[in-house]
Amino acid sequence: MTSHDNEGAGAFGTAAGIGLALGAAALGAFLTTRPRKDHHGDDAPGFTQRRNFGHYDVTGRSVTIRKPRAELFAFWRDFSNLPQVMENLESVRPSGTDGRSIWTIKAPGGRAVEVETQIAREVENEIIAWRSVEGSEIDTEGRVTFEDAPGDRGTRVGLIIAYHPPGGEVGRLVAKAFLREPAVQARHDLKRLKMLMETGEIATSARRRDQTRAAKQTQQENA
């Protein structure tokens, strides 16, 4: 490891140790979609660095969608829309005050894991950041950013998710269901978002309704 890697891991580890109260601000240094000012680096987004982030797994992905920022922001801001495109998400429902939500993540054997989040930062048509509240089963943060793509190409949507894989039974279930390959999952979920927004539907090559991926998943869960 280079000294940069050590510094990065250390700094993030400290932030994690203090707790997620630091929230998006601490994460920002590592997860920014903008070029890093604190680093002798290149102009690529932080999450593409060849380095790790302490105990956190971090994944990021961008997709360009030929729709206006406001439309995409509005879709995402209503978290209950997200299960349409996020395969492992069963539901997102509001939980009382200050924009808190409970995210129900599917787990094998018909089980589910819940994460309660709060909005950490929101700028209309630009960014939504969230983090799990203290005491939540999973320690996670994420943000989605919206910026104009060049010309009439629409909007660049950037998704970054960081999580601290939990231990024990919950950890095992979550790893199986959702977090083992978060980069793959994030990529596919963003593609589905793009499909839904640009075409009004999510592509499937199935020949019959009971052969789609979603239908098979439901059959598996009920089995």
Binding site: V184, H188, R207
Partner: protein, 395 residues
């Protein structure tokens, strides 16, 4: 329904499978009246394209009658349509700039990873091809589920019979785009490798575009005669040194435009081709690029290279020196069918293009395996096979 299914190299069968259903709002179900076997189906038949699974329904050249429509389809029951082999959403960046075969939304999300690993970005969805291109059930069947039916299918007038318009689904636009990609200017000499359907339609298109001379290269006398019938000159590579001949026929300068309508399974007995044949047999994704190498030698400095022939993997001993030092322009790709099909339909209606000369055999769908076998093994006389689901078997 009955459908032609793939079970392994040189093993295709007509099986009974589940009928397709409407799944998404923009879907339509087409009852197939005519479908063809494409030269690129032979790559699947030979097992050199990765990502096929036993039971996959092949076929990407098909047309028929609309029998069912989703809530957001713009088609109407009873309409006759030709269906492009490329599945395109009409809403993404690539569709917006008419690069339909690069559609970003037609390959299901979870199927995009293998082609991304191969090519850097994912391929679009295609009918009846590999799971790299979505694994969509193809058109060599009685019925097909057609996604984005408001974008791809083109309604054809009743007075034009199937055989006059079927090739709008793939090979006619592919030949046209191949010629367009060669950027043909009025004084240009154009050489085309392969007198198969795409090579012949490329020759026809090049002549329509005003090429001064079109030369078609193949080994099969009957196919070469078809090329000559279109107004092209011909070279039989079994009898003639191709590079010498092309240099002479272009006045010693090299040909202006070359079109490789052969692709990854080139014939020929040159050393490169034999070695690559061995690699292909043991399944390491090697393309046999003999025709393309020859084309790159034959083209003049500053010339233009068009590659409609299908390649899928990697090739060794590729003449990068010729590409750079000669200052070549290379244009390639799966066909943006939806960009061309309306214009070409008009040319067919006006009598400027006739495609029926190509058809050598018409078979019931039930005899599709025979069609595959003969299309592969008797290439001289089996130039194009049409399958008809409703046709009575002659036997």
């Amino acid at each position: 329904m009955r459908a032609l299914t793939w079970h392994g190299a040189h093993d295709v069968r007509v099986d009974t499978v589940d009928d397709p259903e409407i799944i998404n709002p923009r879907d339509a179900i087409i009852k197939v009246t005519s479908t063809a076997i494409c030269g690129s189906d032979l790559h699947l038949y030979d097992g050199v394209i990765p990502g096929l699974m036993a039971g996959d329904i092949l076929g990407h050249e098909f047309m028929g009658e609309v029998v069912e429509t989703g809530a957001k389809s713009t088609l109407k029951k009873g309409q006759r349509v030709i269906v492009p082999f490329t599945i395109s959403c009409g809403g993404c960046f690539h569709c917006h700039i008419q690069q339909y075969s690069a559609c970003e939304n037609s390959n299901p999300a979870e199927k995009q990873d293998p082609s991304t690993a191969l090519y850097g970005q994912p391929m679009a969805g295609l009918f009846g091809y590999s799971h790299l291109t979505g694994g969509y059930s193809g058109g060599q069947a009685e019925y097909v589920r057609v996604p984005f039916s408001d974008v791809g299918p083109l309604v054809v007038p009743d007075h034009l019979e199937d055989e006059k318009v079927l090739f709008l689904t793939d090979i006619l636009p592919t030949g046209w785009m191949a010629a367009e990609n060669a950027d043909i200017q009025p004084d240009d000499t154009v050489a085309i490798w392969g007198a198969g359907p795409v090579g012949l339609f490329a020759a026809q298109s090049a002549i329509l575009m005003g090429a001064a001379k079109v030369i078609v290269i193949d080994q099969y006398p009957h196919r070469l005669e078809l090329a000559r019938g279109l107004g092209a000159q011909i070279i039989n590579y079994r009898e003639t040194q191709v590079l010498d001949a092309l240099l002479e026929m272009s006045g010693g300068i090299g040909v202006d435009c070359v079109i490789d309508a052969v692709g990854m399974e080139a014939h020929g007995f040159a050393l490169d081709n034999i070695l690559e044949g061995v690699k292909q047999k043991i399944g390491i994704g090697a393309d046999r690029a003999h025709a393309l190498r020859q084309a790159l030698m034959a083209v003049r400095f500053g010339g233009k290279v068009s590659i409609p022939g299908v390649y899928g993997g990697l090739t060794d001993k590729f003449p990068t020196g010729a590409i750079m030092e000669k200052g070549l322009q290379i244009r390639t790709g799966q066909t943006h069918v939806q960009k061309y099909h309306k214009m070409l339909l008009e040319k067919i209606e006006a009598g400027e293009i006739d495609t029926t000369f190509l058809i050598s055999h018409r078979l019931p769908l039930e005899e599709a395996p025979t069609g595959y076998k003969n299309f592969k093994n008797q290439q001289d006389s089996w130039t194009k096979v049409i399958l008809k689901p409703g046709m009575e078997s002659a036997a």
